[in-house]
Amino acid sequence: MTRTRSVNATPDFSDKPLRIGPFTLTSRLIIGSGKYQSFEQMQQCVQLSGTHCVTVAVRRERLHDSQGRNILDHLNLDQLILLPNTAGCFDADTAVRCARMGREILLGLENPGAGWVKLEVLGDQRTLLPDPLETLRATETLVKEGFCVLCYTSDDPIAARRLKEAGASCVMPAGSPIGSGQGILNPNNIRIILEFLKEGDPDYPMIVDAGVGTASDVVIAMELGVDGVLLNSAIAKAEKPELMATAMKTAVLAGRTAFLSGRMQKSLYASASSPEIGVITSSIPPKQVASRYPFEKAEKTT
């Protein structure tokens, strides 16, 4: 009979929760509530994703064709923090009005999300790319009015730095255009933004917002060191949204844990995982490589 020795001490895998301004979130995934086939499907995906925060749009009340269906009947307000957004606004003034109205509704609902807003000020209908100047203007106004501002922006490091300087509580660069599902197109820019925003302020939160298409995109974002991911279409437009919601929950955890683990260094050549000595004799002599690739430093064997 063989015996496996059990490991007594369990290593500490605990992670700091995601903090954005006065808010503490139990999940690093923020989910959008649009594009689902039904409110029921949205509700199920929110639950399966394990999110603590759902972003919602502010829209004109449909006074004539309302069928009495209300998104609020499908969001557990006791457990979720709603994040009102200014999606669809193309200038700072409209975005600020939209933010104020979102806050007013959330105050009525007595949801803690009344204190913050996902600011989105767009500059172009086709690409839905943000207008950097209007976004900055709106940020300044909303910060003055006491909002905790989560800023959707492009992956431009300078714009990101300006938004932080203007008082944004969280900067949220897009991985690729909204709803495009192209993933993180420029990981180098995300890295630079992380360096800019976290220099001397390591707990400053940064979230990748928009562009995620599938679970691997989330993992890549999290492995880069961002604090969270905000996504909508990747779940809502999957063939089986409920299944993708589950995948996203796992992906955020996998990516975050991998980031905390500190990945191994990449190497051009292989490094055997099994002992290289003590291999039984072969009848064919091993082929020797004459020299290593000149630029590759010889790996240290310890």
């Binding site: 959008g32 919602v56 749009a57 004109r60 609020l72 709603l82 009005r97 009525g108 928009a210 996504l231």
Partner: protein
């Protein structure tokens, strides 16, 4: 805040009593009784007050002020609620 002086023409609104005024709600013109407050309009439209936010002439009117806010002719209202979105 922008306010309009109300001048109702009886000829244009023959079937409407003289005690109504014209306002715009979410881009659509409506007749409401003169002296209607925002709170009573919310009731007439069967809205849940806690679930909507209302601007009158692009200025947010907090819920607590709805009972006191009397609508005037030409007022432009935006009534919004939450919708699915990302």
């Amino acid at each position: 805040m922008l306010r309009y002086y109300c001048s109702l023409s009886p000829n244009l609104h023959a079937n409407v009593s003289e005690t109504t005024i014209e306002i715009t709600v979410n881009g659509v013109v409506r007749q409401v009784g003169a002296g209607t407050t925002l709170a009573s309009l919310v009731g007439q439209l069967n809205l849940v007050p806690q679930q909507v936010a209302i601007e009158v002439n692009r200025r947010l009117v907090p819920r607590s002020e709805h009972p006191r806010c009397r609508l005037r002719c030409g007022d432009e209202l935006e009534i919004v609620s939450l919708a699915g979105g990302g």
